[in-house]
């Protein structure tokens, strides 16, 4: 997919009017640099409507001269940007990271050295969530590492890149069931399981958690759900049912302000909240089914 980048230099007093106009033109957002004057960047998809949209935008920008005389000095530049230019740019900056005492998360394309007892999870997250650098993922990885998973069945709800499911298998889990409702995430998680040689033990399913309950694939003795506070509240009854008596759930991806609601929903679903850990404004909650 290609986009037309429109770069405008405008008088600062017209900033609010021009950004409003850009939003109304269907740009989906504006980048603002107002350190010295006001430089704006906005993007329109390069499709059959581009010419009409650009012409309309120019007419409206010209109209603004009546309200902001300085707009007569506005400069405009355009260039075409391609998705590949930015979609993979972050890869250059994804390097091996050590999480907890013995886990190392490393990109598939970079060599990594490790010592005896350390566990390396290889990852190419693509556009799915989970590189091991986000606080909510770190809290879950630390939880997995702290638990003795050897021989156990583990559930990963909202697997994203598959990082937690793969890490659980690498840490000794006998069987890992991972679900996601995003087909792209399911594909990427399967690839990451394969790269790490744990495909036989990591079963990634394009499904809702409820489908697993119906299919008899749960309960498990250890479940991890790195979602958001809202989704955790919605899924709480199913999460409660997915954890076997005596089993543990680690619910993560909770912004600090959502903690009370999430804990309340888990408690109402037959889980006993044991403790919580916080990192960079994110909270993970440990809950047991008695």
């Amino acid at each position: 997919m290609e986009y037309c980048e429109i770069a405008l230099t405008i008088p600062p007093e017209a900033l609010e009017a021009v950004t409003d106009l850009l939003h109304r033109s269907g740009t989906g957002g504006v980048v603002i640099d107002d350190e010295r004057g006001a430089d704006l960047r906005a993007y329109l998809p390069c499709d059959e409507r581009l010419d009409i949209r650009l012409a309309d935008l120019r007419r409206r920008l010209t109209d603004l001269v009546e309200f902001f005389p300085g707009m007569s000095q506005m400069t405009e530049r355009q260039r075409v940007v391609a998705e590949e230019d930015w979609a993979n740019a972050w890869r250059e900056h994804f390097h091996p990271v050590r999480v907890g005492r013995r886990l190392i998360v490393a990109p598939t394309w970079e060599p990594v050295s490790c010592q005896a007892g350390e566990v390396v999870v290889r990852l190419d997250p693509g556009m799915a969530f989970g590189t091991g650098t986000h606080a909510s993922t770190v809290l879950c990885l630390q939880a997995l590492e702290a638990e003795d998973l050897a021989g156990r069945a583990v559930l990963d709800v909202g697997t994203g890149s598959g990082i937690l499911a793969v890490a659980a298998a690498m840490l000794g889990a006998a069987e890992v069931t991972a679900v996601d409702i995003d087909p792209l995430a399911v594909r990427i998680a399967r690839q990451n399981a394969a790269v790490n040689g744990v495909s036989e033990r990591v079963h990634v399913r394009y499904a809702e958690l409820r489908d697993l309950l119906v299919g008899g694939l749960v309960p498990v003795s250890f479940a991890v759900a790195n979602l958001t506070a809202d989704i955790l509240c919605d899924l709480a009854p199913d999460l409660g049912a997915a954890v076997a008596p005596g089993g543990l759930l680690v619910a993560s991806g909770i912004v600090t302000s959502g903690r009370r609601d999430a804990e309340g929903a888990l408690a109402a679903s037959g889980l006993r909240v044991l403790r919580a850990a916080a990192l960079d404004g994110w909270v993970a909650v440990w809950a047991r089914r008695d």
């Binding site: 986009y3 980048e5 600062p12 007093e13 017209a14 900033l15 609010e16 009017a17 950004t19 409003d20 106009l21 939003h23 109304r24 740009t27 989906g28 957002g29 504006v30 980048v31 603002i32 640099d33 107002d34 006001a38 960047r41 906005a42 993007y43 409206r60 109209d63 603004l64 009546e66 309200f67 902001f68 940007v81 998705e83 230019d85 930015w86 979609a87 993979n88 740019a89 972050w90 250059e92 900056h93 994804f94 997250p125 556009m127 799915a128 969530f129 590189t131 650098t133 986000h134 958001t228 506070a229 809202d230 991806g253 912004v255």
Partner: protein, 143 residues
């Protein structure tokens, strides 16, 4: 030790609905920021402003981690709210779509002052007034 700041990025995007498409991807990708991590956090923190334009100021650190603060709604949004209209005029020179009072303009200028690069309240008021007129709103002394 405080982390080294690599860049400050200011964006206006739709609350609750950020995607890796431009401008998010084009501005964050080259900075090495994990785009999906940003959209997840932004959408979670702006779900009560879903569908509205939300100005956000991001600080990107040298280790590619980031933090962001959400700013007051754009003047255009506040003006539409004050005038009780859905959208601005497509021909503001000729077609007026509503009215705002001078005291509403002053309130919005006051509200936005910290987030605008205007030097003082008078300059902020002129900016809001111009924005209002450019949307096809008339400024009246009182309602």
């Amino acid at each position: 030790m405080a982390k080294k700041v690599q860049a400050i990025v200011k964006l206006q995007i739709t609350g609750g609905k950020a995607t890796p498409a431009p401008p998010v991807g084009t501005v964050l990708g080259p900075q090495g920021v994990n785009i999906m991590a940003f959209t997840k956090e932004f959408n979670e923190r702006t779900k009560d402003r879903a569908g509205q334009v939300v100005p956000v100021e991001m600080t990107i650190f040298s280790d590619r981690s980031f933090a962001f603060i959400l700013k007051t709604p754009p003047a255009g949004f506040l003006l539409k709210q004050a005038a009780g209209i859905e959208s601005g005029s497509s021909n503001p020179n000729t077609k007026k779509v509503g009215k705002v009072t001078r005291s509403q303009v002053r309130d919005i200028a006051q509200h936005k002052l910290a987030d605008l690069n205007a030097l003082d309240l008078a300059a902020a008021e002129r900016m809001i007034e111009g924005t209002a007129r450019s949307m096809g709103l008339e400024i009246v002394e009182s309602s």
